[in-house]
């Protein structure tokens, strides 16, 4: 049961490994970026899932300031903090994506390819030229 009870962790780990694998194994820079994004998404899911409390509801205050519902019963809320944090993390993720894709565009413009090995060939050629010129 313990294993199943931690299913959110399994999902997170699965997504993380998918992203990580794509990041490492793909030669295409765009695919690398997608891998990175999946990786970061897994972190977001991890955070959001930790804020969940069994039986808890959305942390929106109903009734008076002290979270006491009209009926007078205690309401169990999910922890809102991780969610708020993830708003920031999503923004960071989007910025990272934008930055990465912008770089890919520039790389495509200058190297004519987004394949890692082809770029590497040209980089090595550059190094050779530098060595020869000097």
């Amino acid at each position: 049961m313990e294993v199943l009870g931690l299913f959110n962790y399994w999902v997170v780990i699965f997504l993380m490994m998918v992203g990580f694998y794509a990041l490492i194994s793909r030669g295409n820079l765009v695919k690398k970026v997608i891998g990175l994004n999946i990786f970061q998404t897994s972190v977001i899911i991890f955070y959001v899932s930790t804020g969940k409390i069994a039986g808890g509801t959305a942390p929106i205050l109903i009734g008076d300031d002290h979270g006491v519902a009209e009926a007078g019963a205690e309401v169990l809320y999910s922890n809102p903090l991780p969610h708020v944090l993830m708003l920031t993390a999503i923004v960071v993720g989007v910025a990272t994506m934008a930055m990465a894709l912008a770089l890919v565009v520039r790389i495509r413009e200058t190297y004519g390819t987004v394949e890692d090995d082809e770029i590497q060939e040209q980089v090595l050629a550059d190094e050779a030229v530098e060595g020869a010129r000097a």
Partner: protein, 492 residues
């Protein structure tokens, strides 16, 4: 006013970043950036002087008290790091004026200064904040702007290096978030001071161990600890000269600070170094970093890349000091944070002068420049001597404490290795010095003249600092000593 110094420290560069992008004139945007960096510098000095009086500054940002709001908490450790970052910023920004105009397309310059200020803001933010998640946010602000800054390098390889850095940096940052998340799950707080209070009760927990591992690996990626350093050499090599100088002197230092903060303040020495015996892991990594990277540096043709590899080796020295987990070791580490920023900053700025006049920093391009650019080359030589650790330079001071720390632990082979590896620095620095003074000038070097004053003055400012803090290290050693004692939890 002075009560709000912690906010000024961060907000001014942040606003300056926005302003830099909004104005269309490149000189004006430089002016704004310079004003921002000067303000940050004085704020850092103000904070340090208050901390040295024995005060621990706590500042609730926006009036929201901790643990709900974000708290800025400044002790001797981060005050020193703030001073390093802001100080290097205020020296390198004037240098950037002409250097950047030469190396960058004019239209991009306002954007450059925007990213420049963001990077400064991010690095200062990491150092100043007392909130774990806030560290991540500032880390990403500084990293994203750093990727952009590096990608602006004139060589097309800059793009590839920036992309690689981005991938590895983002993975590192994600690791850090995971670690912070796990800590939050376990303790229910993100405030570093609260974490430090609650964690000792949970030292047996596996979650804490996992958090520790994620944080360690993520931060090690950021600070380029061997073998996670692969992004660093190329990123430093192809970035614009001013960016290399700035990042080399600050970015990795701030990451080391994060590591120190987590190891010593948050998890505590008892957990990191006694229960997990972290020293046993860090020590060999540091030694391998020092040894192999110094060796690799010897064989580099591009002097910027040579210094980049040397940086990885120098980070090894810092981590070596950390691994002793003693007052002397940590004093050495924090001292070397400061001292290495001074020497690498100076060296990269000198190379920036060469780039400005000759257009290349390959060792062959430097041949015979000793006569054409005597001041620049004298600066490079002096910086190199400091890197080697010749007495009366800051490099010597660091080495003194590091060897003392190693001997205190009875690790005399380590102490011997530290000294032997400094002779490797002699080899790679002297290769360049020899080319500078004895080489036959290349055609381009033949027509080179001394670098303009706006480049020379910042370079020499750092060299003078190298010598000054080498001759009178009382101030730096006392700050570093206080920082070390703070980290180890003794009386400040």
């Amino acid at each position: 006013m002075s009560a709000h110094l912690p906010a000024i420290q961060i907000v001014v560069p942040l606003l300056a970043a926005a302003l830099c992008v909004l104005v269309p004139w490149k000189r004006v945007s430089w002016g704004i950036a310079f004003a921002g960096s000067v303000t940050a510098f004085f704020a850092a000095i103000g904070l340090l002087s208050r901390v040295l009086d024995g005060e621990e500054i706590r500042y609730a940002l926006g009036g929201w008290a901790a643990p709900w709001g974000i708290e800025y908490r400044i002790d001797a450790v981060n005050a020193l790091v703030l001073l390093i970052v802001a100080g290097i910023g205020v020296v390198v920004t004037p240098f950037a004026l002409k250097s950047v105009e030469r190396e960058l397309d004019g239209r991009r310059i306002p954007l450059f200064y925007g990213a420049w200020m963001l990077c400064l803001c991010g690095l200062l933010g990491i150092a100043i904040t007392g909130d774990a998640f806030n560290i991540f946010v500032f880390l990403e602000i500084s990293s994203l702007s750093a990727y952009a800054l590096i990608a602006m390098g004139s060589d097309r390889r800059a793009l590839v290096s920036a992309f690689r850095y981005l991938i590895m940096g983002s993975v590192g940052a994600s690791f850090i978030v995971i670690g912070i998340g796990l800590l939050y799950v376990e303790t229910g707080t993100l405030n570093l001071a609260d974490l430090a209070e609650r964690l000792p009760a949970l030292h047996g927990e596996r979650t804490v161990l996992v958090a520790f591992a994620f944080l360690t690996v993520g931060t090690s990626l950021k600070l380029a600890l061997f073998p996670l350093h692969l992004w660093l050499p190329n990123a430093y090599t192809f970035a614009p000269s001013a960016v290399t100088a700035f990042l080399a002197a600050t970015a990795t230092k701030v990451a080391v600070y994060v590591l120190l903060r987590f190891f010593f303040t948050v998890f505590g020495t008892a957990y990191s170094f006694e229960q997990l015996r972290l020293g046993v892991w860090l020590l060999p990594l540091a030694l391998v970093a020092i040894f192999t990277m110094s060796l690799v540096a010897i064989f580099q043709g591009n002097v910027k890349r040579m210094l980049a590899y040397s940086s990885v080796a120098q980070i090894g020295y810092i981590i070596l000091g950390v691994s002793f987990a003693s007052v002397t070791g940590l004093t050495a580490a924090t001292l070397h944070l400061f001292n290495h920023a001074l020497m690498k900053g100076a060296l990269f700025l000198a190379l920036g002068c060469v780039m400005y006049r000759v257009g290349s920093v390959h060792i062959d391009a430097l041949r015979g420049l000793g006569r054409r650019m005597p001041w620049t080359m004298a600066a490079f030589t002096a910086g190199g001597l400091s890197l080697i650790g010749v007495p009366l330079t800051v490099g010597f001071v660091s080495k003194w404490f590091l060897v003392l720390g190693a001997l205190e632990q009875g690790m005399w082979p380590v102490a011997a290795l530290v000294l032997v590896t400094s002779t490797m620095a002699v080899v790679y620095i002297w290769r360049v010095v020899e080319a500078i003074y004895f080489g036959e000038p290349s055609p381009r070097a033949e027509s080179a003249t001394e670098a303009p004053l706006s480049l020379l003055v910042p370079t020499w400012a750092l060299i003078v600092a190298n010598l000054y803090f080498g001759i009178d290290a009382t101030l730096t050693t006392s700050v570093a000593g206080q920082a070390a004692r703070t980290l180890l939890g003794g009386a400040p």
